[in-house]
C-alpha cells in the first residue's frame, strides 16, 4: 500500500489527513471491549466512552478547521481561493466560473487498497489467443490481439477518506449523538446481562457509520453500508430472549438485503459508466459533465433509490423500521438520529449529481425521488396517529421525516435536505431518549394508553425536553425543525416568489400536509404521555442524571441548531450581523465545485425564502396541534379515563354524564370546558362560545381527527400490515413452498437420480443439437 496522494499542502490540516482516526477509534474500542471488556470495572463501557470522546473531540476540531477554511476562503468574496490547491488530489476547478466556485471542495486522501495486474506485467505474459504455439514473452502484436482486455484487468481499488462539508457535518452529528447515547446507556442498560456486548456493538455501529460517511469510493460505501446493517442486526436483537426481538432483527436485516441488490446493481452500473471507476469523485464529475448518458444515470439512480428505500425506511420498504423498535431505546435513538437510516439520505447527497441529472431534477415538477419522499412523509405521518406505543409513534415519525428529507433532495433542495437531516438528528434523538426515560419510569412499558399519562408532574426534566423536541419536530419557530422544514417547503419552488429548481406542486402539497400532521400526532403523543392522569401502577419517578443530562443537552441543541441557516432576509429584518445568514449552506454545500452539480444544463439553484410561506406553514402546524389538543382536552373533560381506551369518536358520547360528574372537582381548565360544553347558561358569551364550539370546532375536530384516524388505520391495517407485509411474507412462503416441492424430487432413489442425470443430459444435448 502506498500513498497515492502524498503531497502535503501548507494550508492542509493534519486533521484532514488523519481523519481516518475518527472511525478507527471506535473500531479499536470494539475489539478491545470484546477481548478485555468483561474484566474491567465498568465492563467495557469506559473504553467505548473514551474512544467516542476522543473521536468526538477530533470531529469537533475537524469541524472547526473546516469552518475556518471556509471562512478563509472568503465565502462571499469574489476572489479565487487558496483552497483549490490543497487536498489529496488536485481538484480541477474552473477558475473562470462564477463566484464561490471552489468553496467546499472535498479533500480526498486515498491509498491503494489492492490492485490486480498492471499493463506492464501483462504485456510480458501475452501469448496467442488460445495459448498454443509461441511461448510466453512473445511478440507484442499477439498480445494486443488476445489480451484485448489488458487495460480492464489493470484494476485497482482505493480506500480513502473524503472530507467536505457534508461528511464533516455527519462526523459531528454521529460522534455527538453517539457520545450522548453512550452516556445515557450506562444508566439505561445498567445491569443488563450482555452489557459488555452491548457497548462493543455500539462502538462498532458508530465506527461503521463513520467509515461509511468518510467513503471516497462507492465500493467503500457499500462496505460501510453493509457493516451498518450487520451491527443493527446485532443491536436490534440485543434482547433476543423475546422471539419478537430476534424476528425484528432478522426482518431489518433481510429487508435491507433486498435494497442492497439495488445498491450493488446501481453501483455496478456507475462503475462501468464511469469508465470502470469506483471513485465517487470521478462518478460525480462525469455525471455533471454529461460523460454518462442520462438514461444510464436514470437507471442507476432508480437502483440506488431501492437501496435508499430499504435503508432509510421509505415506502414501501419501511416496514422493518417500526419493528426495529424492539432494540434498546438508546440504540433506536442512534439508529433514527445519526446512523443507519440516514445512511440512505447521506448516500443521495454523496452521489447527488447522479440523482440530480438522472432524475432530471432541474426544471421538473415530479420525479421518483420526490414522489417516494412525498408518499413516505404523508404515509408515515398517518401511521403515527394510530400507535399505542410511544416508540412506534416516533418510529413512524422518523419514517415521515426521512420522507421529508428525500422529498427535499428530490426537489433539488440539497441544502434543505441536509439541513433537515442535521436538525432532525438532535430533536429526534432527544425525543427517543425522552421516550426511553419515560419508559424507564413506567416500568419498561412503552404503551402510552395503558401505562402513561400525567407524567409531566413526575418527570419535569423529561417533560420539558420532550416538549422542546416535539415543538422542534412540529416546526414551531424558532426551534430547529422550523428552519429546516421551512427551507424544504421553499425549495419546492411553488409558493409565489420562491424560485426552486422546478415547480414541485404535488410534493409541496405533501410537504404542507405533513407539516400539519406532524404537529397533530406529536400533540397526541404528548397528551397521552404527559397530560391527563397517570394510568400506570406505581408512582413514576424522574430518571437519573446520566439520562437527564443528555436530554437537556439535546434539547438545547434542538433550540439552537436551527439558527445556523437563517435566511438572509430574516437576518436583515432583525438587524443581525449579515454573516449570520446561511452559515450551514456555506459550510456544507460544496458550492459549485466540479464534483457537484453546477454545469449549465444541470444548474443548481437556491430557492428564495418567503415570509408568507413561513407564516402559513407555522399556522398550519399550530392550528393542527391546537385541534388535537382541544380534542383530547374535551375527551379528558368527559372522562379522564377516556384516553385509555378511546381511539375514535364512537366512545365519546356514552360516558358523557359520568364524565361530567367526575370532572366537577378536578382541574380549573376542566371546569371551564365542562361549563362551556354542558352549561350554556352563563350568558351570551358562553352561549356563543358554545355554539362556536359545537358547530365549528367540534366539526373541525371531528372531521380532521376522524379522517386522519380512519385513513391512518386503513393504511396501517391494509397497506402496511396487509399488503406490504403480506407481499413480503407471501414471496417468502412461495419460495419456501417451491423449495419444498423441489425437495420432494430428491427421493433418495439412486435409480431416479440416474434417470434424471441421463435424461437431463439427453434432453439438453437434444435441445442444443436441434434448437440452437
Amino acid at each position: 500500500m502506498f500513498l497515492l496522494a502524498a503531497e502535503e499542502a501548507a494550508a492542509h490540516s493534519w486533521l484532514y489527513d488523519n481523519v481516518w482516526l475518527i472511525p478507527a477509534l471506535p473500531a479499536a474500542a470494539f475489539v478491545l471491549i470484546l477481548f478485555f471488556g468483561k474484566r474491567l470495572p465498568n465492563k467495557g463501557a469506559e473504553i467505548g466512552i473514551a474512544a467516542i470522546v476522543t473521536a468526538f473531540i477530533l470531529a469537533v476540531l475537524t469541524t472547526f478547521t473546516w469552518i475556518g477554511d471556509i471562512a478563509d476562503s472568503g465565502a462571499h468574496s469574489e476572489e479565487a481561493h487558496s483552497l483549490v490547491v490543497d487536498g489529496g488530489e488536485a481538484i480541477p476547478v474552473d477558475l473562470t466560473a462564477e463566484e464561490g466556485e471552489v468553496r467546499g471542495a472535498p479533500i480526498i486522501n486515498e491509498v491503494e487498497w489492492f490492485g490486480i495486474g498492471t499493463d506492464a506485467n501483462r504485456a510480458t505474459l501475452g501469448t496467442e489467443a488460445n495459448g498454443h504455439g509461441e511461448p510466453a514473452g512473445g511478440e507484442g502484436d499477439t498480445h494486443a490481439d488476445s489480451d484485448g482486455h489488458a487495460e480492464k484487468s489493470a484494476f485497482s481499488i482505493s480506500i480513502g477518506t473524503w472530507v467536505d462539508g457534508q461528511s464533516v457535518m455527519m462526523l459531528f452529528v454521529v460522534t455527538f449523538i453517539s457520545l450522548l447515547v453512550h452516556i445515557y446507556s450506562t444508566d439505561y442498560v445498567n445491569g443488563d446481562r450482555r452489557y459488555t456486548h452491548y457497548f462493543a456493538f455500539l462502538s462498532l455501529f458508530t465506527a461503521s457509520m463513520l467509515f461509511m460517511v468518510l467513503s471516497s469510493s462507492t465500493l467503500q460505501l457499500i462496505v460501510g453500508w453493509e457493516l451498518v446493517g450487520v451491527c443493527s442486526f446485532a443491536l436490534i436483537g440485543h434482547w433476543w430472549e423475546d422471539q419478537a426481538n430476534s424476528d425484528a432483527a432478522l426482518k431489518a436485516f433481510l429487508t435491507n438485503r433486498v435494497g442492497d441488490i439495488g445498491l450493488l446493481i446501481g453501483m455496478t452500473i456507475l462503475y462501468f459508466a464511469a469508465d470502470q471507476s469506483f471513485s465517487i469523485k470521478t462518478i460525480n464529475e462525469m455525471a455533471v459533465a454529461g460523460d454518462i448518458s442520462k438514461g444510464t444515470l436514470q437507471i442507476a439512480a432508480l437502483c440506488l433509490m431501492a437501496a435508499v428505500m430499504s435503508k432509510s425506511g421509505q415506502f414501501i420498504l419501511h416496514t422493518w423500521l417500526p419493528d426495529a423498535m424492539a432494540g434498546p431505546t438508546p440504540v433506536s435513538a442512534l439508529i433514527h438520529a445519526a446512523t443507519m437510516v440516514v445512511a440512505g439520505v447521506y448516500m443521495i447527497g454523496r452521489l447527488y449529481p447522479v440523482f440530480f441529472v438522472g432524475f432530471g431534477i432541474a426544471g421538473g415538477s415530479i420525479n421518483v425521488m420526490a414522489f417516494i419522499g412525498g408518499l413516505t412523509c404523508v404515509g408515515g405521518g398517518l401511521l403515527a396517529f394510530v400507535q399505542r406505543d410511544i416508540k412506534k409513534v416516533l418510529a413512524y415519525s422518523t419514517v415521515s421525516q426521512l420522507g421529508y428529507m428525500v422529498l427535499a433532495l428530490g426537489m433539488g433542495a440539497y441544502t434543505a435536505g441536509m439541513f433537515h437531516l442535521f436538525t432532525h438528528a438532535f430533536f429526534k434523538a432527544c425525543l427517543f431518549l425522552g421516550a426511553g426515560s419515560v419508559s424507564h419510569a413506567c416500568h419498561h412499558s412503552f404503551d402510552m394508553k395503558a401505562d402513561m399519562g400525567g407524567l409531566r408532574k413526575y418527570m419535569p426534566t423529561t417533560f420539558a425536553t420532550f416538549m422542546i423536541g416535539t415543538a422542534a419536530l412540529a416546526g414551531i419557530p424558532p426551534l430547529a425543525g422550523f428552519w429546516s422544514k421551512d427551507e424544504i417547503l421553499v425549495g419546492a419552488g411553488v409558493w409565489p416568489g420562491t424560485e426552486g429548481n422546478g415547480t414541485y406542486t404535488i410534493p409541496f402539497i405533501f410537504g404542507m400536509i405533513t407539516a400539519a400532521m406532524t404537529a397533530a400526532y406529536m400533540t397526541r403523543a404528548v397528551w397521552l404521555t404527559f397530560f391527563g392522569d397517570y394510568r400506570g401502577h406505581e408512582e413514576p419517578h424522574e430518571s437519573g442524571p446520566r439520562i437527564t443530562v443528555p436530554l437537556v443537552i439535546l434539547a438545547s441543541m434542538a433550540v439552537v441548531v436551527g439558527f445556523f441557516n437563517m435566511p438572509s432576509g430574516f437576518v436583515k429584518a432583525l438587524r443581525l450581523p449579515e454573516g449570520w445568514a446561511h452559515k450551514f449552506e456555506d459550510w456544507v454545500e460544496p458550492a459549485g465545485v466540479a464534483t457537484f452539480v453546477s454545469k449549465e444544463a444541470n444548474k443548481f439553484t437556491h430557492a428564495k425564502p418567503s415570509l408568507s410561506l413561513a407564516v402559513v406553514a407555522t399556522a398550519l402546524a399550530v392550528g393542527a396541534g391546537f385541534l388535537v389538543w382541544n380534542y383530547y382536552k374535551r375527551l379528558y373533560a368527559m372522562d379522564p379515563k377516556a384516553t385509555e381506551y378511546t381511539n375514535g369518536m364512537a366512545s365519546r358520547i356514552p360516558p358523557l354524564a359520568a364524565g361530567h360528574r367526575v370532572l366537577e372537582n378536578k382541574y380549573y381548565l376542566d371546569h371551564l370546558y365542562t361549563g362551556v360544553i354542558a352549561g350554556g347558561t352563563k350568558g351570551p358569551l358562553a352561549r356563543a362560545a358554545n355554539w362556536t364550539n359545537q358547530n365549528i370546532l367540534d366539526g373541525l375536530v371531528n372531521a380532521v381527527g376522524s379522517t386522519s384516524v380512519v385513513a391512518g388505520r386503513f393504511i396501517y391495517r391494509f397497506i402496511d400490515q396487509g399488503v406490504v407485509d403480506g407481499t413480503v411474507n407471501a414471496s417468502g412462503s412461495t419460495a419456501s413452498r417451491l423449495g419444498q416441492l423441489l425437495r420432494g424430487m430428491q427421493s433418495g432413489q439412486v435409480r431416479q437420480y440416474a434417470t434424471l442425470m441421463f435424461g437431463a443430459a439427453t434432453v439438453l444435448v437434444a435441445v442444443f443439437i436441434f434448437a440452437v
Binding site: 441421463f758 443430459a761 439427453t762 437434444a766
Partner: protein, 178 residues
C-alpha cells in the same frame, strides 16, 4: 489371424470378409448385451457380459488394436469377471431365475435409453455418414503403444498406479469384516 484379416482388407474381397466378421461380432455383442440387461438370472447375466466383452475384444482386433484386445481379455475376462462372480456368490445370489431384479416402470429406462440412442445415432450419422476407415490400415504396434505410454502419458500412468494402490487399500478396509 489378426494379420490375416488386415491383409485381406487391402482387396475388396478382403474388406467384405472383415465386414462379415464385424457384423457377426456386432450382432452377437448386441444380442448378448440385451440379454444381459433383461435376464432374470444373475449368473446368466454375468455369462452374457462375458460374451459381450469377448466380442468387444474381437472388435479391437479388427481395428488393429492388438494390445488393447489382449488387455481386454486379460483384465476383463481374467480379473473383472472373476471379481463380479465373486460378488454374485458373496451376496448369495440365487443360482437360477429371480423375480426381483428389476425396478417397476422399466419403460422410463427404455425411454431414456432410446432417446439417448436417437440423439447419439443422429449425431454420428450427421458427423461421419459415409466416412470410410483408411484403406492402408496397419495394426498398431504394442511397442509403439508402450513408447507412447512412457513418454506422453507418463503422468497419468504414474497417477494410475497410485489410484490402483489407493483403491486396493480402500477396498480392503471397506470390504473386510471387522
Amino acid at each position: 489371424m489378426t494379420y490375416l484379416v488386415l491383409q485381406t482388407q487391402l482387396t475388396d474381397t478382403g474388406e467384405w470378409i472383415a465386414n462379415i466378421f464385424f457384423y457377426i461380432i456386432a450382432a452377437v455383442a448386441i444380442v448378448a448385451a440385451l440379454r444381459m440387461v433383461t435376464t432374470n438370472n444373475v449368473v446368466h447375466a454375468s455369462l452374457y457380459l462375458l460374451v459381450v466383452l469377448s466380442a468387444v475384444a474381437a472388435t479391437y482386433v479388427i481395428l488393429g488394436a492388438e494390445f488393447a484386445a489382449a488387455t481386454q481379455i486379460l483384465v476383463y475376462l481374467g480379473a473383472i469377471m472373476v471379481l463380479l462372480l465373486f460378488g454374485v456368490m458373496l451376496t448369495r445370489a440365487k443360482i437360477g431365475a429371480e423375480t426381483d431384479l428389476d425396478h417397476d416402470q422399466k419403460w422410463i429406462g427404455a425411454l431414456v435409453a432410446a432417446s439417448l440412442g436417437a440423439v447419439m445415432g443422429y449425431s454420428l450419422w450427421e458427423g461421419f455418414g459415409d466416412v470410410r476407415m483408411p484403406a492402408d490400415q496397419v495394426p498398431q504396434r504394442t511397442e509403439a503403444v508402450a513408447d507412447e505410454i512412457f513418454s506422453t502419458y507418463i503422468v497419468p500412468f504414474e497417477a494410475l498406479s497410485v489410484l490402483l494402490l489407493a483403491a486396493l487399500i480402500g477396498a480392503v478396509v471397506v470390504a473386510r469384516r471387522d
